[in-house]
Amino acid sequence: MLRILIAAILLLIWQAMAMSGLFYQDVVLGLPDIARGMARLLLDPDFYRNLWITVAEILAASAIGSLTGLVCGMVLGGSRILERAFERYLYYLGPTPKIIFFPLMILWFGVGPGSKVALGALSCFFPVALAVAAGMREIPFILKCVGTSLRATPLQKTLKIYLPAMRGPVINGLRMGFGVAVIGVLLAETKLSNQGLGYLVIQNYQHFDMQAMYALLIAIFGLAVAANTALSHWADPNHR
C-alpha cells in the first residue's frame, strides 16, 4: 500500500519536473509521452527480434563467464598458495571496466555476437571467481574433513560438499556476474553491431527519439530486475 503511494508520488514528481520547464523538455518527457513510447515499443516486432538476440547473448555470456569463474574460484579458494599467488590480480582487474577491452574482443572474436558474448563473459568472470573463492574459504573446514575421512574422490567432494556448502555465496556471485554480463553485452552492442537492444538504444539516441529511448530503457530495466529477482528467489535457502 505504502509502496503504491510512494510510487505514485515519485511519478508525480517526475511529471511536475517535466512540466516545470526547469529541465529541457525534450529530454525530461512527461508521463503520457513515455506511455506512448512504451506502447509503440511493445507493438514493434523489431523490438522482440532484437530482444531475443540480446537475451541469447547474455545467456551465453553468463554461462561461459560463470563456469570459468566457478572453476577458477574453486581452484583459488581451495589452495592458500594459489590464493596468495594470484588472487590479488583478480582484485586489481575486478574494478577495471571491461568495456575498455572491447576493441580487443573485436579483434579476437569478430564483429558478430562473438565479441559481445566475450565481453559479457569477461565481465561476468570476475565477480563469480571472487565470490566463489571467498565462499570456498568459508566452507567450514570440518565439512571438508568429513569428506576426506570418508575418502570421497575430488569430484565427489566438489559435487556433494563444496558446491552445496557454498550455495549462498555462489548464487550471490552468479547474480552479480549476471548483472555485469548484462551490462557488458549491452554496452558492447552500443559500440559495434547491427542488432540487439544496445544497438536499438544507441540508434534511438542518435535520432534523439527520447520517447523510444525511455521506453527501451524501462523495458530493459524491467527485464533485468525480473531476472535478478528470479535468481535471488532461487538463492533463498528457505526455498529449496
Binding site: F86, P95, P97, I99, F221
Partner: protein
Amino acid sequence: MPRPDATRLRFGPELGGLAVLVLLLAIVELLVRSALLNPFLVPQPSAVLLAFGRIVAEENVLHRFLVTGSEAGTAAVLVACIGVPLGALLHRAHLLRAAIGSWIAAVAAAPIVLAYPLFLVMFGRSASTIIVISVLSGLPPVILMTTDSLQSVRPALIDVGKSLRMNAWSLFWKIMFPAALPGIFSGLRIGFIFALINVVGVEFLINFGGLGPLINELAERYDLPGTYAAIGFVVLVSIVVFLILEALEKWLRPGKR
C-alpha cells in the same frame, strides 16, 4: 581441527605468482615477435612498458590520472556518505524498509549505465554525468549491506548496551555502528568497485574526462602499446582505490584479524 600449516612460506606464493605473470608476458612477447600472435592486434609487452614512459611524457597522463582519480574519489565519497546513512535510516525506519527495500535491490540489478545517453542529456557531457551514474550504480550494495549488517549485530552486544542503560543515540554510535562496520565495509568494497567500473566506463563511452578518452584517442590513433599502457593506468586507479579502502578499513577496524 588442526589444519596442515602453510605459514612456513613467507613470500613464496606472492613471488611465485609474480613470476608466473612475468613468464606469461614473456611468452606473449615471444609469440608476438614470432608473429604467431597477430602483432597488429596484440602489442609486444616490452613496447607497452616503453609506452608507459611515453604517454606519461606526451599525453599528460598524470593529469588525466588525477582527473579520473578525483572523479572516482568523489564518487566513492558520495557513495559512502549517502549510502551508509541511507542504510542506517532504512534500518531504523521499518516501514520505509518494507516499502522500498526490495526496490533498492531491484535498482542494483538495473544496468543504469545503459541510460548514459539520458544522463548525458540531463547533466551534459561533464564530470557530473560520470559521477551521478557511478554513484547510482555504487549505492545499492552499500545501502543494502549497511541495513543488513546493522540488522544482524549480535543481540548480546546490544544487550550489553541496554544493560548499561545507554540511550538510542550512543547505543548506535558506540555499539551498533562499530559492530556493523565489517559488513558495511564489504558493502563499500562492492559499491566502490561498481562506482569505479562506471567512472572509467562512462568516460570511455562519452569520451570525456581523464583516462577513458585517452584510451579512445590512442586506439583511434592506432597506438596499440599506448592504448595498453593507458589501460594499465586504469588498473592502477583500481589498485589505488583498493589499497586506500584496505588502509581505511585497517584504521577503522583495529581489531580485525
